[in-house]
């Protein structure tokens, strides 16, 4: 298992669990997008937003209430 990237398991397992078929080209693209996005996604998830009061039914055409 040495050198195995997290995506090696996550992507095929995730696609299979959803019943999504993917050929080699699909997997290459998915891997590239995953490498680009995954670290920032983990950083986003780790962002401390506790205490932030969410907008209720936000109107994006206006400033927040």
């Amino acid at each position: 298992m040495e050198g195995k990237a997290p995506a090696d398991d996550f992507i095929p397992a995730g696609l299979a669990s959803l019943g999504i078929e993917a050929d080699e080209v699909d997997l290459a693209v998915i891997g590239a997008v995953h490498r680009l996005l995954w670290a920032p996604i983990l950083e986003l998830l780790a962002l401390d937003t506790e205490g932030l009061e969410l907008e209720r039914c936000p109107d994006h055409s206006k400033a927040p209430q």
Binding site: F10, I11, G14, L15, L18, G19, I20, E21, A22, V25, D26, L27, A28, V29, I30, A32, V33, H34, L36, L37, P40, I41, E43, L44, L45, L47, T49, L52, E53, L54, E55, P58, D59, H60, S61, K62, A63, P64
Partner: protein, 457 residues
């Protein structure tokens, strides 16, 4: 000359209204121009000579009476469903009267053709499309910008004087920047969106005008908004600049041209430049990407993804499948970041009137290899460009891109201004002030392809 073909949008409308230009002759000249220049640009993927003549015959007296325009392949027309630059969409489509079409028709405009676009709206370069890429009139080997590639190339190549694009993550501003145009991303919800296949779902996408200058954007914007975008005086403009990667990770030429333009704008308006802090920009960019990915997958099933059209690009096929794997928690967190950034901006707009930074960090890259060299290294243009654009879509604020220079290679450089919700008019006022101050040098610059033409004989 040429039935008014080389006039701006407002000048065409005024010349027709004054009887100085015959709209039938203008339409014929426009169609001839498309025939002549489009093979080099692939900007217009379908022209409608007969439909256009019918529209002209029925055109009401309005602010754009008899003026030819191009509309992006993102909205249905009564005689044509949108294709979104792709072999297939993830949502059903059919011909119909979209909001932008209706607004144009009711203003008396004549839709002469559909503009090319980046496949599924998912790219800032315009380098991928089911029709083949549109090409940049400044250098046809360069990206025109996306996703509203065809509308921008149509205007920059002077096929028409105005075009309607759409902006979900910068898709009006990027092609405006690459093609040396002025492009307005309106406040969310302010411009016509009916008939868009994501109209009921999106919280980011807006229609917007692409024109040579701010006055023309004001005119076409007023039509799309369904209300007059009145001109005002931006005297004392407070310009906020952000010293972070969005502003600093740009090529030296872009940095220099944008800084000079900001100083020119400050001097022209008698305003001031304030350095401001806007933490969270990177998180905001990712949040916008996650939200638009999530919204675009509404109604898409795994089974549907197993039946994708083989003509879709490999990138589109893989990306669509990857979107199904994105964690729901990340999208929920993106919503929290959205709230956070909206509040930060609301607070900032008490201190400044506009926030300025380069629209794109480098001029248009080659179509063959859409990568850009930045101080931080070599990045895909998409990755680099989205950093400066996503905030406006995430938060709903308006934004404008305007030309402020040419690179050593003769490619346009652009500055972006962003303002508080509903202050679209202020952005247009500021852009006009900058045009005045620099003698309209950049908005009147023409790409080589548009400088001489057999139709000018």
């Amino acid at each position: 000359v040429n039935g008014g073909l080389d006039l701006g949008l407002g000048a065409q409308a005024a010349a027709i209204a004054a009887g100085d230009v015959d709209p039938g002759e203008l339409l014929d000249a426009t169609l001839a121009r498309i025939e002549e220049r489009n093979p080099a640009l692939n900007a217009v993927v379908e022209a409608f000579p007969e439909r256009a003549r019918e529209m002209l015959t029925a055109a009401p007296e309005g602010p754009l009476h008899g003026v030819p325009v191009v509309i992006k392949d993102e909205w249905p027309l009564p005689w044509r469903a949108q294709r979104f630059g792709a072999a297939e969409l993830m949502a059903p489509t059919s011909p119909g009267e979209s909001g932008p079409y209706r607004a144009l028709r009711d203003a008396g405009a004549v839709v002469v053709g559909v503009g090319n676009m980046h496949e599924l709206g998912a790219g800032s370069t315009g380098s991928v499309s089911v029709y083949g890429p549109a090409r940049n009139p400044w250098d046809t080997e360069r990206c025109p910008g996306g996703s509203s590639s065809g509308p921008a190339a149509s205007v920059a190549g002077r096929l028409v004087a105005g075009a309607v694009g759409a902006d979900g993550l910068g898709s009006v501003r990027f092609p405006a920047a690459y093609c040396g145009l002025t492009g307005l991303k309106p406040t969310f919800g302010r411009s016509a969106m009916e008939g868009h296949h994501m109209a009921a779902i999106t919280t980011l996408i807006v229609s917007g005008p692409l024109c040579a200058d701010a006055a023309d954007c004001r005119l076409l914007g007023s039509v799309l908004f369904g209300e007059e975008l009145d001109a005002g005086d931006p005297a004392g403009l407070r310009i906020g600049i952000v010293r972070d990667p969005v502003s600093k990770d740009v090529t030296p030429e872009v940095d220099e041209a944008c800084n000079a333009a900001i100083e020119t704008l400050r001097a022209e308006t008698g305003g001031e430049v304030r350095e401001i802090s806007l933490p969270g920009l990177e998180a905001a960019t990712l949040a916008a990407i996650l939200i638009i990915n999530s919204e675009s997958m509404s109604g898409v099933t795994p089974e549907r993804l197993n039946r994708l059209d083989p003509e879709l690009s490999a990138v589109a096929r893989g990306t669509l499948k990857y979107r199904m794997l994105l964690p729901a928690a990340a999208t929920a967190q993106a919503t929290r970041v959205r709230t956070m950034m909206r509040r930060r901006l609301a607070s900032l707009f008490d201190e400044v009137d506009v926030i300025a930074w380069p629209t794109v960090p480098a001029p248009a890259p080659p179509l063959e290899m859409p990568m850009v060299e930045l101080p931080s290294g070599t990045l895909s243009a998409d990755q680099a460009n989205v950093r400066g654009a996503a905030l406006a879509n995430l938060t709903g604020i308006p934004s404008i891109s305007m030309p402020v220079g040419l690179s050593g290679e003769g490619l346009p450089i652009a500055l972006q201004l962003q303002a508080a919700w509903g202050r679209d008019e202020l952005l247009l006022d500021a852009a006009e002030a900058l045009e005045r101050a620099n003698g309209r040098r950049w908005v009147e610059s023409l790409p080589p392809l548009a400088e001489a033409s057999p139709t000018e004989a």
